[in-house]
Symmetry: C2
Subunit: 316 residues, 2 copies
């Protein structure tokens, strides 16, 4: 039996979440790592149930992910999409052939009545992943981006179809009021050793997880460390800086600290942002400065080890 | 404007229907060939809307079909199915990657409210097919095979999953009572010059078309010619002979003639079956003996030309 008090919980979005998850998996015993993944970006397309962040984390943990993009499968082919192109169908979402198999089987199982968390655990087993990768919820939560030009867009419409170009002035999580965190999540957080917040977009990857009933209060008094998704005022990936600016904040690692204020204990930031150290301390949070870029397996393990060591020191 | 009295109607199943359709398209002006395709084999799989016979005819007419199998796409890849295999999902139905694009776009359009006939016409346009390929109906008709061992199986379960192995003792077309032939079909048959019945399985490819309200009576007094799907007591393809035997009939070209008795005017049979000529005549139907195997583009055109010439003579 595993002592639940040894468990490390990771709250994760897509590529940043996948990388630190894989790093942690190199160090922590398999049954002590539990990854809760954002599902606010999930959507239906061509009748298929698509869970982009879950797949990104799963492919990375299975050693199947595309090392160039961070999402999708390595050595992917695009023949289904070529047919869709020929038929003048919608091309904005990248549906690789190998990736499609995942969407098809998930859709089949969900149509049979399986919960997303059951599908996710089954897929982990089949892909040979021994850690737990779970959706944040089995209920539908839809991240909606309010844009000045188009009003509300679903996350994928904003992120992929509109390439994050429209100016945003609000975000909401449709369905969050009624949604339950996935079975066991609140208890697992409460009894865990550490909670790590991946270098994911706070607005659209982490906020949906924390906004669910019972999660924020479960985080109180835990050892919680976040890794900055912003380095030197620039995003490691995606629209996080653009979002901070358009919503009226400075695009910086410091804004991420303030974002998580109220439950955060420690914050890992890049050398490029060491100038924020003293202000982070003033905000009551303990900073740790290191190299936060994860460009390969070694750098993923190194950042994961530093994160765990930092959590360990905070726990003393 | 096309004179509808010049129109040639083809009633078609899958591979046999596709081949004679392509042959006819080499000869008849584009706007004078109308192909009504069996949809009794259509089914949902992985949440996708799959129309096997429509796709087989469409791919052949578009010049995209696999010349070795007669169904599916040429130079197909199978990466989605490989993922499904890795996930231990159902592997019994062949889902090629290029083919999947067709299913995905059809599903998307049907979910948006398009009728199958609208999708089919749109796909023809996009694939550069100038002839009309239409589903027999926009309503759901499901060919159910009653087997001694398993009771009722859907056609694809019988045909693909069980590889036609179970002994059958009945066939029904679920939904046939309420289904309407596709818009314009009855009128088109009535005003057509000839109706050709493809060398398809009478039980499961042609019967569903003829069993729809109004079709059999529309066929009365037309010049109707069928091409035998049985040569020398053996099927050109599929379970047609096994079905005749298990349902209590001789598996022969003559049984096909009797199957269509009541509306058939002429019957095209292979040299191998010329011994049936006199008995076909006794049954009031005019036989035409030729080489009915269509192994390439030339033999498809040749059989189509002979069929049209034969129809012309019957019309005089």
């Amino acid at each position: 039996m595993t002592n639940s008090r040894n468990k490390v919980v990771l709250l994760a979005g897509g590529v940043g979440g996948a990388k630190i998850a894989e790093g942690l998996s190199q160090i922590i015993p398999d049954d002590q790592l539990i990854i809760y993944v954002n599902t606010g970006d999930d959507f239906q397309h061509f009748g298929l149930e698509i869970s982009p962040d879950l797949d990104t984390v799963t492919y990375m943990m299975a050693g199947l992910s595309n090392p160039d993009t961070g999402w999708g499968r390595a050595e992917e082919t695009w023949n289904a999409l070529k047919t869709i192109e020929l038929l003048d169908g919608p091309m904005w979402f990248n549906l690789g052939d190998k990736d499609l198999g995942n969407h098809l089987e998930r859709t089949r199982l969900k149509n049979k009545g399986f919960k997303l968390s059951e599908v996710s655990q089954l897929f982990c087993e089949k892909y040979g992943i021994r850690q737990k990768i779970l959706p944040m919820s089995d209920d539908q939560i839809q991240t909606m981006i309010h844009t000045v030009e188009f009003g509300f867009l679903s996350f994928q419409e904003y992120f992929v179809k509109q390439r994050c170009e429209p100016v945003i002035d609000g975000i909401k999580f449709r369905g969050i009021g009624k949604a339950q965190p996935v079975n066991g999540m609140v208890e697992t957080i409460k009894s865990s050793k550490f909670v790590i917040i991946a270098p994911s977009n706070p607005w659209v990857s982490i906020d949906p997880i924390i906004a669910m009933k019972g999660v924020r209060s479960a985080l109180k008094n835990k050892t919680i460390v976040a890794i900055s998704p912003i380095i030197g005022g620039k995003p490691v990936k995606g629209p996080v800086c653009k979002m901070y600016r358009e919503l009226g904040y400075e695009a910086s690692a410091l804004s991420v600290v303030k974002h998580y204020q109220g439950f955060l204990r420690g914050f890992i930031l890049d050398h490029a942002d060491s100038n924020f150290e003293s202000e982070i301390i003033i905000n009551g949070i303990i900073p740790y400065v290191t190299n936060t870029i994860m460009h390969d397996k070694n750098s993923r393990r190194k950042l994961a080890q530093e994160t765990l060591d930092f959590c360990g020191r905070l726990n003393q």
